[in-house]
């Protein structure tokens, strides 16, 4: 008898799941059941409660960060970085940087994001590059100086695109913050967030932005995340037709220029030598692509004097 009841519970859940995925709330479906009479059995209140609990858990898992929310997180991280560093706005630099960036983003595994990819050069002598969630990418003048040609610049940008594609920035947000945000959103019901809830959500938002920017600017990602981004960057460079070895070339140049005590990449990234060692096996047999000299010329012409 008990087994049959368990079976029926499973059947009800099975029925409810597709409805949930198709857009209705499972909890509503279950609420609608009222005094549950399934297959001749009456489900006890505790059984209905258990059903509701499972449905709520399903809904929670479902309420992931949406692309729209990722976009707002990225904008806030961008506003923080741009509050600290001045962007370079001359049209020639902006256009060229965004052409290189787009040629890479479009061949990545995430060619489009909610707000799109946008690239900017920061007037900062430190060796830095940042990717805000959602597609805002920043490279410092100091980092640009480590790039001897377009392929090397592409390697830096491909690495940052990889961080976005792999959602590394979002993963810097503490899970507890998201759990709190989701519970506020759940109590919010069908109406817009009221004063208290808005204040609470904004507080969580503020802390989340702090988690991301502190990771980007101060603590850096783990070596595992950096390795993951380097591997994805190689794939992107290869698909776009750029020299995959440019990533290693850039790391070598960075190793030369980085001040180990510096507050830039030296602090936030693993030793370039370690990253180069991680990449070496992936580059065996890689051939030199065509057009490098053409790209080198336009890089020199457009960015050589910066």
């Amino acid at each position: 008898m008990a087994n049959k009841r368990t079976f029926l519970l499973a059947v009800v859940l099975l029925c409810a799941c597709p409805v949930l995925v198709a857009g209705c709330k499972t909890t509503d479906v279950i609420d609608g059941l009222g005094a549950v009479q399934v297959g001749g059995f009456r489900l006890s209140e505790s059984q209905v409660g258990a059903l509701k609990k499972t449905a709520v858990a399903l809904e929670k898992a479902f309420t992931d960060i949406t692309p729209e929310q990722e976009y707002y997180v990225g904008r806030a991280v961008g506003a923080t970085l741009l509050g600290k560093y001045q962007p370079r706005t001359d049209p020639q630099t902006v256009q060229y940087l965004n052409l290189v960036g787009q040629s890479l983003a479009r061949v990545s595994d995430m060619p489009e994001t909610y707000g799109g990819y946008h690239f900017v050069l920061l007037e900062d002598e430190g060796i830095n590059a940042f990717a805000a969630p959602g597609g805002l990418i920043f490279i410092s003048r100091g980092m640009l100086r480590c790039c001897k040609d377009e392929d090397t610049l592409a390697a830096v940008l491909a690495h940052e695109i990889a961080h976005i594609q792999l959602k590394h920035g979002l993963q810097a947000i503490k899970t507890s913050r998201l759990t709190s945000a989701f519970s506020i959103m759940a109590t919010e019901g069908a109406k817009q967030a009221g004063g208290v809830q808005l204040a609470q959500l904004t507080g969580i938002f503020e802390d989340s932005i702090h988690d991301v920017t502190a990771t980007l600017v101060n603590s850096g990602y783990s070596r595992a995340f950096e390795r993951e981004a380097d591997v994805a960057a190689l794939e992107i460079l290869g698909r776009a037709g750029y020299d995959q070895r440019a990533l290693v070339g850039m790391l070598g140049e960075m190793k030369q220029r980085l001040n180990p005590q510096g507050l830039d990449f030296a602090k936030t990234h693993p030793d370039p030598a370690d990253r180069m060692a991680d990449l070496a096996p992936q580059l065996a047999g890689v051939k030199t692509p065509t057009g490098m000299a053409l790209r080198q010329q336009r890089f020199q012409r457009l960015l050589g004097s910066i």
């Binding site: 049959k4 059947v11 009800v12 099975l14 029925c15 597709p18 409805v19 995925v21 857009g23 297959g39 960060i65 949406t66 692309p67 729209e68 929310q69 976009y71 707002y72 997180v73 904008r75 806030a76 961008g78 506003a79 741009l82 509050g83 600290k84 962007p87 256009q95 965004n98 052409l99 787009q102 040629s103 479009r106 061949v107 595994d109 995430m110 060619p111 489009e112 909610y114 707000g115 946008h118 900017v120 377009e150 919010e188 069908a190 817009q192 967030a193 808005l198 204040a199 959500l201 904004t202 938002f205 503020e206 290869g238 698909r239 776009a240 037709g241 057009g291 053409l294 790209r295 336009r298």
Partner: protein
């Protein structure tokens, strides 16, 4: 009605519901400007742009690309699978949503970190340069400029992508 028949009925109903879901084959556009291309290629010609939350029916798959038909106007083309998600996207009341969402869905949309939270955060924040973020978001490269850039740099063919779209 015997218990066995009732059980069979419940089971059939559940399977039917699952089948309806599995057979729907629709996706929501998860980006603000989702490009519908003539071919499953990163630089394929764009024949339509779909907005966030609009729905498409999936007609075929090729690697990371889906051949789709948009539910509102019936236009067909290729979209990258990363720009689509298999769940309904809901917007705030007043915002336009493609594909005809129910009132309930509309009301439930746009929650969490949204424009309202951003405005509140901006009011509280120090040293935040949202004007520069807005400027940055307006940066666009035209398809013509992209084509010329690729050709002159010896990169991919304008319609294709080296090793992509397999």
């Amino acid at each position: 009605m015997g218990l066995r028949i009732q059980l069979v009925l419940v089971l059939v109903l559940s399977l039917a519901a699952t089948a309806v879901w599995a057979g729907q084959g629709w996706r929501s556009v998860a980006v603000r400007q989702g490009a519908v291309r003539v071919s499953p290629m990163p630089f394929g010609k764009i024949i339509a742009t779909l907005g966030y939350g609009e729905r498409v029916n999936v007609l075929a798959e090729q690697g990371l690309w889906f051949k789709v038909r948009d539910q509102r106007q019936g236009r067909e083309g290729w979209m990258h699978s990363a720009s689509l998600i298999a769940k309904p996207i809901t917007l705030k009341p007043g915002e336009r949503l493609g594909g005809g969402a129910s009132e309930d869905e509309l009301a439930l949309g746009g929650k969490g970190f949204n424009a309202q939270v951003e405005a509140e955060y901006k009011a509280r924040g120090k040293n935040l340069d949202y004007a520069s973020v807005d400027w940055m978001e307006r940066i666009q490269v035209s398809p013509e400029a992209m084509r010329e850039f690729l050709a002159k740099g010896g990169l991919q063919s304008p319609e294709g992508g080296a090793g992509h779209g397999k």
